[in-house]
């Protein structure tokens, strides 16, 4: 099972096993990782599952689909490496992925 590391804004690391096919958002919510709200439940409609993907990983992820960048306009302090974690589907290739959680979701 791929291991995903969530780093909170206080620099706490949470490394957990997440099943293939789930999203990075679901991995966080199901394991009570603080800081990912996912108000809309994964519908790409709220921008409250915003994460920063560490640089070495950002380019390895499948590209953003239409609409994700639009939603990121509304995220709290978006950066170049911002993604919505509900749009990142876990697979073996993502084993070891690290994401930083912003200090707020809105």
């Amino acid at each position: 099972m791929p291991k995903i590391t969530y780093i909170t804004s206080e620099n706490e690391n949470h490394t957990i096993d997440v099943d293939n096919g789930l999203t990075v958002m679901e991995g966080a919510v199901q394991n009570n990782i603080p800081g990912i709200d996912a108000d809309c439940g994964g519908g790409m409609a709220c921008a409250t599952c915003h994460v920063y993907v560490t640089e070495d990983w950002f380019d390895k992820l499948p590209k953003k689909e239409d609409g994700e960048e639009d939603m990121l306009d509304m995220a709290y302090e978006p950066k170049k490496n911002s993604r919505l974690s509900c749009q990142i589907v876990i697979s073996d290739e993502l084993d070891g992925l690290k994401v930083n959680i912003p200090s707020k979701q809105g």
């Binding site: 709200d37 108000d39 809309c40 439940g41 519908g43 409609a45 709220c46 921008a47 409250t48 960048e69 639009d70 990121l72 306009d73 509304m74 709290y76 302090e77 978006p78 950066k79 170049k80 707020k104 979701q105 809105g106």
Partner: protein, 338 residues
């Protein structure tokens, strides 16, 4: 003080259908919503996105679903209180006293919270100092555009609200439009208009920039912005307008003495009642073992909560289950029979 059999907090799909159920069984109700329109998340988050899992409706958008639910309420007289946020729910001797931010007061034995993920509030600037200027020099909506005449305004955002106001205010103000990337998500016609005004020098456009600081003494004087490559700029501004859409906040609901599980309210699955007698929660905001956040589940929850309301609203009457196909009483309420 407005007296009613039940107050519904939230005019989303579940709140609307719950109102239908209450009226059908002969109870009065009033609906309060913080948004200025009916429809909740359906209208605010996905008005044009198709939904495929409403039973017997193969495909409909959030807007269409809302329209149909409003149509279904046509036989009934239901009072909506829009742009009102419920601030306080307190018990007097018998009833719940519900107060809104606009000082409306209701007295009712039943409060049904159909609040989705809470109330929609504008997303604010991440820069904390903006709070000092809020509603004076920093705004998240425009109430009176006259105050901007002859002034320098910094508009942040890339959607329709930001672009529409940039175009409108550029007639009588000096407009700086700041957006975090080069693409805009507003309507193409408006985007074209903005670019034309930029070429004419009527709008100063800063793309790939975001706010880093605000300065001023009582009134806003300047704004610091920074781009992706860490280049900083300082722009003069009398006003800042932020259009980053809305975010859902649980808000005052957290203070009503209800058992919460994260941002949801714990209920039983018989009446969808909370730990407070006469306060129910239905739709996305309620939680119980096996809860599914589907609109169809909310309809079920609302139908049962409505029946539970009957007991408290009509303590001396007995509720009789009836079908809308055959019951004369129900058909009369629906306006189908004399």
């Amino acid at each position: 003080m407005i007296k009613t059999d039940a107050i519904i907090i939230g005019a989303g799909p579940v709140g609307l259908f719950t109102a239908h159920q209450l009226k059908l069984i002969g109870l009065d109700c009033e609906i309060v919503d913080n948004l200025d329109k009916i429809g909740g998340q359906c209208i605010e988050l996905y008005p044009d996105k198709p939904i495929y899992d409403i039973p017997a409706v193969p495909e409909c958008t959030g807007k269409e679903l809302t329209k149909n639910l409003i149509n279904q309420l046509k036989p009934f007289d239901i009072k909506f209180h829009l742009s009102e946020r419920v601030e306080e729910v307190k018990k007097d001797d018998v009833n719940w006293i519900v107060k809104t931010n606009n000082r409306k007061i209701f007295s009712t034995p039943n409060v049904i919270i159909a609040g989705g993920v809470g109330s929609f509030e504008p997303r604010k600037f991440p820069v904390k100092e903006c709070e000092k200027f809020e509603n004076k020099s920093v705004f998240y909506s425009v109430k009176d555009k006259k105050i901007f005449e002859g002034k320098t305004v910094a508009i942040f955002g890339g959607g329709d609200s930001a672009l529409d106001w940039a175009v409108e205010l550029s007639k009588n103000s000096k407009v700086n439009l700041i957006h975090r990337r080069e693409e805009f998500r507003g309507a193409q016609a408006t985007v074209n208009k903005v670019h034309a005004l930029v070429n004419e020098g009527k709008i100063n456009l800063f793309t790939k920039y975001q706010m880093t600081s605000v300065k001023g003494n009582g009134k806003l004087e300047s704004i610091g912005i920074k781009n992706d490559d860490d280049e900083k700029k300082n722009i003069k501004a009398d006003y800042a307008l932020g259009f980053f859409g809305l975010i859902m906040q649980l808000g005052p609901i957290a203070n009503w003495g209800l058992n919460l599980d994260k941002k949801t309210i714990e209920v039983d699955t018989e009446k969808f009642e909370t730990n407070q007698k006469g306060i129910y929660a239905v739709g996305d905001i309620c939680s119980y073992p096996g809860k599914l956040k589907l609109i169809l589940s909310g309809f079920h929850e609302g139908a049962l909560a409505a029946r539970a309301c009957f007991k408290l609203a009509r303590p001396n009457e007995k509720y009789r289950f009836e079908f809308s196909t055959t019951s004369k009483t129900l058909l009369k309420r629906l306006g189908k029979k004399e």
